[in-house]
Amino acid sequence: MDFQLNDEQRQVQAMVHDLCLERVAPRAAQIDASGEFPWDIKALFAAHDILAIPFTAEYGGVSGSAVTLIVATEEISKYCVTSSLILGVQSLGSLPIRLAGSDAQKRQYLPPLAKGDRLAAYALTEPGSGSDAGGMQTRALRHGDTYVINGSKTFITAGSVADTIVVFARSDQDGGASTRNISAFIVEKDMPGFRVGKLEKKLGIRGSPTAQLFFEDLAVPAGNRLGAEGEGFKLAMRVLDHSRPGIAAQALGLAEGALDLACRYAKERHQFGKSITEFQGVQFMLADMATQIEAARALTYASGDAIDRELPEINVSSAMAKVFASDTAMRVTTDAVQILGGYGYLRDFPAERMMRDAKITQIYEGTNEIQRLVIARGMLKERD
């Protein structure tokens, strides 16, 4: 049993940390205030092969290790969760191709994503089907060598900036509600019939565009279908099992950033003639924050290690990491605002942004309520 990061992981950690401290941290408040996608950060990550981390060397990437991706995501998220989502969605959007793509599909689509020349997105959620993803209404009807997609998707992270979007849709003729008639397709933004709707205004992660997508008689070649027809739902769930550690890593980094901020502030802040760190009320808050983070880190790294070792129960380990790390991020960022007191509530300090950003980690890629269902099913099934 070895908890230490290997050389690759340590090098990536140090490189991403230094780069983000110097280039991302000073941009974080502006990105939040403007609500604009940070193309400069995307270019920076592409130039430093950070967007190549999810991909193996075979397809133009530099790693492919889940733990390495976690470490990189954690480092970015210490300073800017919005920026971490550029890497996060590049991984999420490419996962269906990496997991289920044919060799030809991988060779065609992965290298430009690894290079950062193109951006990816993942389109599963619809207005009427969130947690109940199997209830989606978007249709993909086969006509000869093409599928014609009609419908809409919502809450699509990076949907307005992505070039390559994996879209899930019902592919049977009768449109029954079974999860067994859902298929996945690689859609490109310049295909006729693809339209980006309005961008959502959000509590946090404001520089990460969340878009509605519309498909109007969008014709996709049958060769863009990922895996067999009807296997899309299984693939969607497998993708989430692989991507949830990334959300856990975001939440972990965010919480670490908030704790670091709270510690630095507390050491400088004097009241009643002494540093507020000398009060046990503050000490114990910091100790609890640090301990929750340690627990979140253990679960998050373990979930990545489980993927790298190809263990069978990654649905449970990923859900555990996601639910615990995101709940931790919410608590820790709220406590960080509290330790900064009135200053914590001001836009002049990053604490309130961290708290706003933390909330989304409890919601996306499966609400924490859905994570608990996944875990409970796993636990209650184990003894069958």
């Binding site: 049993m1 908890f3 992981q9 000490q283 910091l286 679960l299 615990f324």
Partner: protein
Amino acid sequence: MNLALTTEQEEVRRLARDFAEREVKPRAEAIDHQVEFPRDLVNKASELGLLGLLVPEAHGGAGLDHVSFAIFIEEVARFSASTAVIVDVHTSVGTEPIVLFGTDDQKRRWLPDLANGKKLAAFALTEPEAGSDAAHLKTTAKRDGDHYVLNGSKIFITNAGEAESYIVMATVKPGSGAEGVTAFVVAGDNPGLKVGPPFTKMGLNGSAIAELFFDGCEVPAEDRLGAEGEGFRIAMRALDSGRIGISAQAVGLAQGALDDAIAYARDRKQFGKPIADLQTIQNKVADMAVKVRAARWMTWNAASRCDAGLPFTKEAAMAKLFATDSAMEVTLDALQVFGGYGYLEDYPMARRVRDAKACQIYEGTNQIQRVVIAREVLGG
């Protein structure tokens, strides 16, 4: 990073799990209800070589690592936290200081019998007026020729009266705080050592916890562990790895409670279906399982850092705090899943709740863990 157990660690788990299921489980209720010190189980564990787990092979032990130690304690604690704390105190704080700080002569004289279980060990630091503030202990050690004379008393000593070997902290410079604290190994049959009657407690009924009285207790100078004044450091180092054991004990308690809660939820039918089908039960099971898993990883992380020679004070304190708070929450939730049956002493759920409470208190209260963690986080 590779979190797979080694073959050796897997082997310890198999051995410890087999011991726990075959020997400990059937005895657990009687140990608690009849307040029996389970010497039989201690003897069986020693026959399996588990009591000498952390003692080097050269001195008759198994020479295994702290991850293996944590696995052993967890497996026993799934069924009997009383038994777990007895073997934990023996293996870690009772024996390990001799491994770490003993001279070759001391190791030769003490370790083989501790490793093979002929002698059971205890650790005596806490005093009536020196609990969390351990440096201000009052027991004195006065040098007199080739021996020291110990006077004073200790309280809350696990394995008191049952142990044949006690690591005792006393001060050679009363009033000097940590500076004068010195460690000694005192034999259980030393005529200057008297043991009070075991306390009646909320839980951990099978584990003997009592006061020690030193009245002109003569200890040979050759049984002083480390130098004069080194005792506080020895005690703190002992407690660092002791906390790995307590974390593991808490993980085992919580895992046992979770296992029983899951089995019960699947069997128990209300409203025409198993209560496991209700989301409120599923949510409880999920939250319990996440806490147990996180606590185990934290415990193993602290243990593996200890084995790798890395600093682990912070990680052990965090593991202890998180695992024992989790054990309290999980055992209470598991009792709740059992409803009225959980409140009955016919089931292990109530016992686990009583046992879990001790884990938040001993080997440094969770308040002291927070002080340690805050100090580490704030950088001294």
